[in-house]
């Protein structure tokens, strides 16, 4: 979104960042595969069935999980329903506008959703109340509070942390409470391409000069469960393979460090 900024300053910044990145250096001193500090506060919102406040550097995302009984999809009568939504509220950035989800927030929600869905993180079959009629709907709401880059990873970590802390509120509906049944723990790692280099966890100023983005979700078996390439630049095959290998390693580390799994 360089449009609004001064084109000349932007050009100088890009030149500078491309120059240092060609040596593998980042403006904040991190290594190419180093995340900014991550601080997760689970159960931040006690009214939610599960929640997590995520600070990833200066990016901040709050994810809440609500659960309500509802109808299953006709083609999966014996499964609960997962629905993921992201709000890029104007509080978080001067470039975000109020209004219904746009392509950015929809992509964000769908990429996070796929990592959860395709890894089969939640055991949806244990969320049936009356087969074919009534199941638990799992609402994952991503509320972006402060945007300093890499919303995908921050949101996905938040969603995972919130789901891991979610209690199904059965008692509210005359049943019993129970912890949300979890099978797997997916982790997304996002790479930005600046010049010819790939860097994980891009900050906003890195995003602004990057040509392409690659997000890879892995599970605890080191399998790939979702990928999403973004922006109008391109990747070579080798870059993709290298990013995949790194994402498996980084995923393991993040999974252990943040989620103890």
């Amino acid at each position: 979104m360089s449009k609004g900024s001064d084109e000349i300053v932007y050009g100088l910044k890009r030149d500078y960042l491309e120059k240092i990145s060609s040596k593998g250096t980042r403006i904040d001193g991190r290594s190419a595969i180093e995340y900014r500090p991550i601080v997760i506060t689970p159960n931040y919102v006690i009214r939610a069935e599960g929640s997590a406040d995520v600070k990833l550097g200066k990016t901040r995302v709050l994810v809440g999980v609500k659960m309500e009984p509802g109808e299953p999809f006709p083609d999966t009568p014996n499964q609960g329903v997962l629905t993921t939504n992201a709000e890029l509220i104007p509080m978080a950035s001067p470039t975000f506008e109020a209004g219904p989800p746009n392509e950015d927030s929809i992509e964000l929600a769908r990429v996070v959703d796929r990592s959860i869905r395709e890894s089969k993180m939640i055991d949806l079959e244990k969320l049936v109340i009356t087969p074919g009629e009534k199941v638990w709907i799992v609402y994952v709401d991503i509320h972006v509070l402060d945007y300093d880059g890499n919303l995908i990873d921050a949101s996905q970590f938040g969603a995972v942390a919130a789901l891991l802390n979610t209690t199904v509120p059965g008692s509210r509906y005359g049943m019993e409470d129970f912890p949300l049944p979890i099978n797997h723990v997916p982790v997304i790692t996002t790479f930005a391409k600046i010049g010819k280099q790939l860097f994980v966890d891009p900050s906003l100023e890195e995003e602004e000069v990057s040509s392409a983005r690659l997000s890879i979700a892995t599970d605890e078996n080191g399998n790939i469960v979702a990928m999403q390439k973004g922006l109008s630049g391109s990747f070579t095959q080798e870059e993709v393979y290298s990013a995949i290998d790194k994402s498996i390693e980084i995923g393991k580390d993040i999974r252990k460090r943040l989620f103890g799994r």
Binding site: K66, P90, M91, D146
Partner: protein, 257 residues
């Protein structure tokens, strides 16, 4: 107001369901400058409420036809996160949020020197992350601090509190049960320096004497909360000075240029 219930909201000792005395506030905590992108920001915990406020502006009002050639327009947007309440709230503004955004905008504008910034908008975003009763006043109180943090020139920091009627008694700062099952609620906001009223709503049923008592009680509490606002701003600037020094010294080390 006034859903029926058998809940006794005030006990034989005159204490409320959460143990407070009639004129006792819930705990309030205010932090300043909690967000990075916004021009100004504040966070408030007020009882069970957790609310963020952020300010952008003055910036060119968009679209152009909304610009006022003689002053800034103040747009507050009150929004509840989907997970902030017991039953999930569908994202996007409902009618209640639209009305609250309007009365907050008007109350804030009452204190801002809008003539200094023609053709601009001052955008105030209030996000209720966790809702107890009294979110509009808590949000407004935080928003005012965020405006100060953004350096917007104001007569004074707008501040508010609610009072109401519960089990036949006038009480301060209703909590959720009191709001649901009580008899009246009167949110109020003032400009402390002049004690002028810039926001007032009321619903329920009170005699005129009870209304006066409630207004008095809310005003007194607002003046107290006004000090919390100012302390929070002071704390930020003191901490800010220290941090800035630290950051400067770090810069050379980390950026590895």
């Amino acid at each position: 107001m006034g859903m029926q219930s058998d809940i006794k909201l005030i006990d034989e000792n005159g204490l409320r369901i959460d143990g407070r005395k009639p004129d006792e506030l819930r705990p309030i905590k205010i932090e300043v400058g909690v967000l990075n992108r916004a021009d100004g920001s504040a966070y408030i915990e007020w009882g069970g409420n957790k609310i963020l406020a952020a300010v952008y502006g003055p910036r060119e009002a968009f679209p152009k036809h909304t610009q006022n050639p003689s002053r800034a327009i103040v747009n507050a947007r009150y929004n509840m996160a989907a997970f902030s309440v017991d039953e999930r709230k569908r994202p996007g503004p409902d009618r209640r949020a639209v009305e609250i955004s309007k009365v907050i905008s008007e109350a804030l504008e009452a204190s801002i020197f809008v003539e200094q910034f023609p053709r601009t908008s001052i955008d105030v975003y209030i996000e209720v992350l966790q809702a107890d009763a009294g979110t509009r006043i808590a949000g407004l109180t935080a928003a005012s601090v965020a405006l100060a943090d953004a350096g917007i020139p104001m007569k004074d920091l707008v501040v508010g509190c609610a009072a109401g009627k519960v089990d036949g008694k006038i009480v301060l700062d209703l909590n959720k049960e009191e709001d649901n099952y009580g008899e009246a609620d009167l949110p109020l906001a003032i400009i402390p320096r002049t004690q002028e009223i810039v926001l007032m709503q009321m619903d329920g049923n009170m005699t005129r004497e009870e209304v006066r008592e409630a207004i008095e009680m809310a005003k007194k509490a607002a003046l107290f909360i006004s000090n919390l606002q100012k302390e929070a701003l002071r704390a930020k600037y003191e901490k800010g000075e220290i941090q800035k020094t630290e950051e400067n010294s770090n810069e050379g080390v980390n950026k590895g240029e």
